[in-house]
Symmetry: C2
Subunit: 239 residues, 2 copies
DNA sequence: GCGTCGAAAAATGAATACAATCTTGCCTTG
DNA sequence: CAAGGCAAGATTGTATTCATTTTTCGACGC
């Protein structure tokens, strides 16, 4: 049998009783997919997951349906679910939409940001700088995610935040593509510098433009990396 | 007991064997919510829906979880699900995001539209004109939905199409707000005229600008209508 | 009369049981 | 030896059952 390395993290998630079992299952499974523990294209064996999570098939399947509806898994009738395979061709479309939303985030955030927002962003920006100094690209990537997520909350538009987060999670699965390109990370940080300046200045058009530009460059870097890594096993065996 | 008027339409949906039972249930339930058959804030009685759809609670609950994750229903632990109440305060945020996506749709559609796309849009535009002539505002509203949906497909970006469709469905629940304002419908058609011109001319910036403007005006009209109809029972009893 | 407590009824959450479908492996057959 | 088919096992889909929680409603006390 295949070892999925599910031990540890998951059980903790499930034990979190602040949320319902269903919510924990959805979050836990999503994490497994996004973190790549369940590989792209991999078959999802219900029985095994049930054992791991310590629940029966009923709640597990409810969670699978939710992830299926969100596009993270493909539910094939009578043939089980598979983790939606990563597709290099998806990178550009996702970034296109993400860029459109980031433009709105920029326009809106520049107008609605309060001091707490800017402090929080500044703190994240500092941490990003520290991660860059240390050359810890993995941590930089995670902080980068948090940076943009926090920014998306400034407009205080729940629909915007959710739509944006959806896209961020989709692209997050491809993050291994940039994990090693140090030069891009340095450029990225320089762009963040400009973003912070525009945010502090509260200039909507400028902030929006810088975000769009940052988005486009990140997209370019990922697309390039995908070209080079088309044979990467993480792009999914079964497809 | 309350009569939910579920007869008819639903059973047909379920009988559609091209899709799985689960898919039909999700689509059927969503339709009930979007069409207002299950009113805003209304409690969802599992047992009754099971009878109506002729299925057991297991697949029905799977569908409810999906709709809950999509924000159409609120799943309250141990207390059943309710249809997410309509909130006039949601109109503006939804339109903001929708506007950002329509801008992208415009930019992209102007570049990627082929003759078939433009023919299809022209046909819908003609139908819209006919509905306006007849004064059939209900039909106009439905065709308007189809018009924008078809437009969103022109960029051939699945992520864009899906994100946009999500938002369109959310706002569609508020459509009763414009069902009676004839003057707005006439204005709307005039704006569509300009949109078609820009689409045929394939001028990205112009098309994007006209779509954004159209979106903003529609938002304004709905917001106004919401102010006047704050007491409308459709805004949800329970809340 | 009003509020509170408590038991019965109803509804939800999860596990188990059953049915239908697919997969696997072996056997047959050309 | 290859191809097809059939039966056994495994897996998925749905129904049913059991456990837990909430709601209802009537009795009781203030």
């Amino acid at each position: 049998m295949v070892n999925h390395n599910l031990d540890g993290a998951v059980e903790k998630v499930i034990a979190n009783s602040e949320f319902t079992l269903h919510e924990n299952l959805v979050a836990g499974l999503r994490q497994l997919v996004i973190d790549g523990v369940l590989a792209s294209g991999q078959r999802i064996p219900e029985a095994e997951l049930c054992q791991r999570f310590g629940v029966s098939r009923t709640p597990l399947r409810e969670a699978l349906k939710v992830l299926g509806a969100q596009g993270l898994m493909q539910l094939r009738p009578n043939r089980g679910a598979i983790v939606t395979p990563l597709d290099p061709g998806d990178i550009l479309p996702i970034f296109e939409v993400k860029g459109a939303l980031e433009r709105l985030i920029g326009l809106s955030a520049a107008e609605r940001a309060n001091d707490m927002d800017i402090d929080a962003m500044s703190a994240l920006h500092l941490e990003l700088g520290a991660a860059l100094q240390k050359g810890d690209i993995r941590q930089y990537t995670e902080l980068n995610y948090a940076f943009h997520k926090r920014l998306s909350q400034i407009p205080r538009n729940a629909h915007l935040r959710q739509s944006y987060d959806d896209l961020q999670q989709r692209i997050w699965r491809y993050r291994f593509l940039v994990n090693e390109s140090f030069s891009r990370v340095a450029d990225s940080f320089a762009e963040h510098e400009q973003i912070m300046i525009a945010l502090r200045a509260r200039t909507p058009l400028d902030l929006a433009a810088r975000l769009e530009s940052h988005n486009a460059r990140t997209c370019e870097a990922m697309t390039d990396a995908a070209r080079g890594a088309a044979q990467d096993p993480r792009f999914g065996a079964i497809a």
